[in-house]
């Protein structure tokens, strides 16, 4: 067909412009700044000759100093090492604690399986900075855990929340569900007949597990560990609350360089390194799962015989119960704190009050409003972009767009935020500090969820239905709007809620980029925690979690509620 300027063509062009402007160029700019050591005005160079000359001048002075300093100056290098160490420890421990739980859920008739499954979703609804904050009020000097520990004869604190251990614990107990469900799936699909063969040859059941079951599930677990590694490495909420000033972590360093010292070069080099590490882990993980697909095992359903040996299942339940209890207690602590009159060094608050909520609804209603408006805005942008992206990805097989929508999945939030701030700091496109760039940042960051949801639905819409509409006289655009659009609605609805929820939970972008006039709930909670205003922080957290919970319930209902 001859290339004509069609409605769809224009939209495709605009989508490309959107991605290049707000994703590719900012990332490119941050990469360049890591050499020039000062902000580069890419957009200005495109429209202004003077600026272009200036930019070229900057490049003439480009150095590799920053890269050198990473490995010579102990500060940044130590931050990177610490972050890698943290992520490594977290992913190993997550694997260790998930292994028995996943096995229990997939292969045994352990008691309270449903309850444990249900409770294991709690970490998913709590943003990590709230969990981290909750750890302070549990394990801190005045925390109830510390009280119990001291009452039992312990000295000082059981665990210092403001430490590497504290950060690792929060991440372990709040990231384990990301590993649990893939591991359950891996245990479910491994061929049971092989285990039966092993048993048949006289092997004891524990030996079968060690020699057959575990090795079969190993590749799946490795890739899961890498997912946890990436999640932990990119996590900003936990370290920003809990990292003591003498503990360098790369995400915190990067944040401090940009928001404390306006050290563009330093922030840029840290951003580049963060993206490099995250990209490598993503590549490695993709490399591992290549050729494997744990979701689409069809054909004859194998009847797995569930183990019902009490000596095994009861310890499994006890262990699993302990693991899921900690997030539950964390949530309970936040709720209790939000209703507490005062809560000092006692196991329970001295009394209960609704004052903190009253205060929020009188003075901080704006934050809730901001969150909802910003999330709504991000939702609208991502619905529009994702709908057309999935159309182009599925119908035009646009691999470029497919690739571009996976970039936000890899780039850590704090890195993406720094890139945007840097790129839109000056005219002609001075957007830093506006709600517009905030909404765009949110929507791009969460676009992959939306696109995944809509692409799935789009694939299910047969192409001939669209052709039929064209055959009946509709232009491609009209066919897309009147036929594909309505059929895509379920996918859009499911993706929308996910985007809305994650934007409300979003920490790194909010803390880094939100202007005071548009402070969302997460930023308000963060500031309250920093000011040690724990009661209002707790109340706001409860409201945030409640909103997330309600929306998640709606999403589950929409998607049929059969997904784990």
């Amino acid at each position: 067909m001859k290339q004509r300027i069609s409605g769809l063509g224009v939209i495709k062009f605009l989508i490309y412009v959107f991605f290049i402007l707000f994703l590719i160029l900012p990332l490119l700019a941050v990469f360049l700044v890591s050499f020039t050591n000062e902000p580069v005005n890419l957009f200005g160079s495109l429209v202004n000759l003077e600026q272009l000359k200036l930019t070229i001048e900057q490049f003439k002075n480009a150095t590799l100093d920053n890269f050198k300093s990473i490995f010579s100056r102990g500060h940044y290098f130590q931050g990177l090492l610490n972050s890698l160490y943290l992520s490594f420890i977290v992913s190993i421990w997550v694997l260790i604690i998930c292994l028995p739980i996943a096995y229990g859920i997939a292969r045994t008739k352990m008691p309270f399986k449903r309850t444990i499954s249900a409770l294991s979703t709690i970490p998913l609804i709590m943003p990590t900075f709230i969990s981290a904050f909750a750890f302070i009020i549990m394990f801190g000097r005045a925390g109830w855990v510390t009280y119990i520990y001291n009452a039992l004869g312990g000295e000082g604190m059981l665990i210092d929340p403001y430490s590497m251990t504290g950060i690792a614990l929060v991440q372990i107990f709040f990231f384990f569900p990301y590993a649990l469900w893939p591991m359950v799936a891996a245990f479910r699909v491994t061929d049971v007949s092989l285990e039966e063969a092993s048993r048949n040859m006289g092997s004891k059941s524990w030996l079968t597990f060690v020699t057959v079951t575990f090795p079969l599930a190993l590749p799946g677990m490795l890739s899961t560990a890498l997912v946890i590694f990436a999640v932990s490495f990119s996590d900003f909420g936990t370290p920003i609350i809990l990292a003591p000033s003498d503990l360098n972590l790369i995400v915190v360093d990067a944040y401090r360089e940009i928001s404390g010292f306006f050290n563009w070069g330093g922030a840029a080099i840290l951003t580049v390194i963060m993206i490099a590490v995250a990209g490598f882990v993503y590549w490695l993980q993709n490399f591992l799962v290549k050729g494997r697909n744990y979701d689409t095992l069809s054909g004859k359903p194998k009847q797995v015989k569930l183990i019902d040996n009490k000596a095994l299942t009861i310890p499994l339940t006890v262990f699993s119960g302990f693991v899921v209890l900690i997030p539950l207690l964390t949530m309970g602590t936040v709720i209790l704190q939000s209703f507490a009159k005062t809560w000092g060094r006692d196991p329970l608050p001295s009394g209960y009050t609704l004052d903190h909520y009253k205060q929020i609804f009188t003075s901080s209603l704006g934050n809730i409003q901001n969150s909802l408006i910003l999330a709504g805005g991000a939702l609208i942008v991502s619905v529009i972009v994702a709908t057309f992206v999935s159309y182009f990805v599925v119908r035009h097989r646009s691999t470029t767009l497919d690739f571009m929508t996976t970039i936000p999945l890899i780039v850590p939030g704090i890195a993406f935020g720094i890139a945007l701030i840097q790129a839109f700091n000056t005219a002609p496109l001075q957007l830093t500090g506006t709600a517009i760039i905030l909404v765009i940042a949110y929507s791009i960051r969460r676009l992959p969820y939306m696109v995944r949801s809509t692409v799935g639905t789009m694939r299910a819409i047969k192409e001939d239905i669209e052709e039929a509409a064209v055959n009946l006289g509709a232009s491609r655009l009209t066919a897309a709007v009147t036929i594909v659009g309505p059929l895509l609605l379920p996918g859009i609805a499911a993706g929308s809620i996910l985007v809305f929820v994650t934007v409300i939970k979003e920490t790194s972008i909010s803390i880094l980029m939100a202007p005071a006039s548009w402070a969302p709930m997460s930023l308000a909670i963060f500031q309250n925690v920093l000011r040690a205003e724990y009661y209002s922080a707790a109340a706001m957290s409860v409201i945030l979690v409640a909103i997330v919970l309600i929306l998640q319930a709606i999403a589950n209902r929409l998607s049929g509620g059969d997904k784990t």
Binding site: K2, A468, V470, L472, T482, P486
Partner: protein, 374 residues
């Protein structure tokens, strides 16, 4: 309604040529079938006419107008898809009214445009104008679906869905009606009924129709003319009787109906009859005149007569052994071994006839006019 002329059509997908040298001259009001095995290019040919594929070279004229550069939505070539491709979120009425809505959209009135767009997204919000309402109900009455108008298409049976697809294509009064294997999703009985329905509607509306199928029986029973395709080329175009009695290649002889195809050598000519030799020195006469030396003998199963008694008068016959007999009600089909070749013979069966036993030596008689040499 118009003619469809395809001239020297060629289509390449990357390096693969899927269509070459396609020439069609379909007359106004003609029912034309594209027949061939899967992968022969018949669907691609139709999709080129509909505009979903653009030809690498060649021209396509619909109603005398060159449409190669016309986008598919402006060709006015109504198509019935193999899967019907009904809009699953719309009821029967909305499905059929779709093309009429599109026509409304082409008007200049902005308010009307918005109204129509809204109606296409949700027909409960904006009412259909009277002329659309009437037109849709008329066509639904024509395909006997009036009482199903407000049903979702998923609530209908296969045959009913098929008629919705047909009505949806017909309501736009297309220049040409394109049907891509429309009966392949129906069960046998329904397929026979739908054949008649489609044929009746085509006759009554006198609409130029192109019908893609791999089922020769379907093509033979419905079409005015058939183009037999293979490997991206047209082998032969002709009326059903033409193709059956005068196939130009062994492939057509076998694809259109069943044929016995025996390789043979021409050994002479006598009284206008060609003599051929095959097998173990068996000789047959054919009224086909040929200048080839090596030929294929084509004989239809029903043209062979089985002769059991040795003394019967046989002018033009050869010998064989019955492998086994299949009783089919009104006919009996014999599989007969001749040398190392297997032949098929259909004989009429009347009650009381006996079926020849397996292993019997028999003679097969055929009149020279029924022996075709290719």
């Amino acid at each position: 309604m118009g003619s469809v002329v395809v001239d020297n059509l060629r289509k390449d997908f990357d390096d693969v040529t899927v269509l070459r040298n396609i020439n069609l001259d379909i007359k106004e009001g003609e029912f034309f079938a594209l027949l061939g095995p899967s992968g022969c290019g018949k669907t691609t040919t139709m999709r080129c006419i509909a505009g979903f594929e653009s030809p690498t070279s060649g021209t396509i004229k619909i109603g005398g107008k060159d449409v190669v550069n016309t986008p598919p939505n402006r060709r006015n070539a109504g198509m019935v898809f193999q899967s019907y491709a009904l809009f699953p979120h719309m009821n029967v009425f909305d499905n059929v009214a779709y093309s009429l809505n599109i026509k409304e959209l082409r008007q200049r009135n902005v308010l009307k445009k918005i109204g129509t767009y809204t109606r296409m997204l949700n027909s409960k919000l904006v009412k259909y104008p009277k002329h659309i309402e009437e037109k849709v109900m008329n066509i639904l009455e024509y395909v006997e679906l009036t009482e199903h108008a407000k049903k979702l298409t998923s609530e209908l049976s296969g045959g009913q869905q098929q008629r919705v697809a047909l009505a949806r294509a017909l309501v736009m009064e297309p220049e040409v009606l394109l049907m891509d294997e429309p009966l392949s999703n129906l069960d046998l009985k329904l397929r026979h009924t739908m054949r008649n329905t489609i044929r009746r509607i085509q006759q009554e509306l006198k609409i130029t129709t192109i019908f893609v199928t791999h089922d020769q029986e379907e093509a033979m029973s419905m079409a005015d003319r058939i183009a037999v395709m293979k490997d991206g080329e047209i082998l032969q175009i002709g009326t059903p009787t033409d193709l059956y009695s005068n196939p130009e290649t062994p492939f057509i002889a076998d694809f259109v109906g069943t044929s016995n195809i025996i390789p043979a050598t021409v050994i002479g000519e006598e009284n206008g009859l060609t003599k051929v030799k095959f097998g173990d020195d068996q000789i047959l006469e054919s009224s086909t005149v040929t200048d080839k030396k090596e030929v294929q003998v084509i004989i239809r199963p029903e043209n062979l007569k089985v002769i059991t008694s040795d003394d019967a008068q046989t002018d033009n016959s050869f010998e064989g052994v019955v492998q086994f007999a299949t009783y089919l009600g009104s006919t009996v089909r014999y599989d007969i071994k001749m040398g190392d070749q297997l032949l098929v013979v259909d004989t009429m069966y009347e009650s009381g006839d006996s079926i020849i036993k397996d292993g019997s030596k028999i003679k097969l008689d055929v009149s020279p006019e029924r022996v075709l040499l290719i």
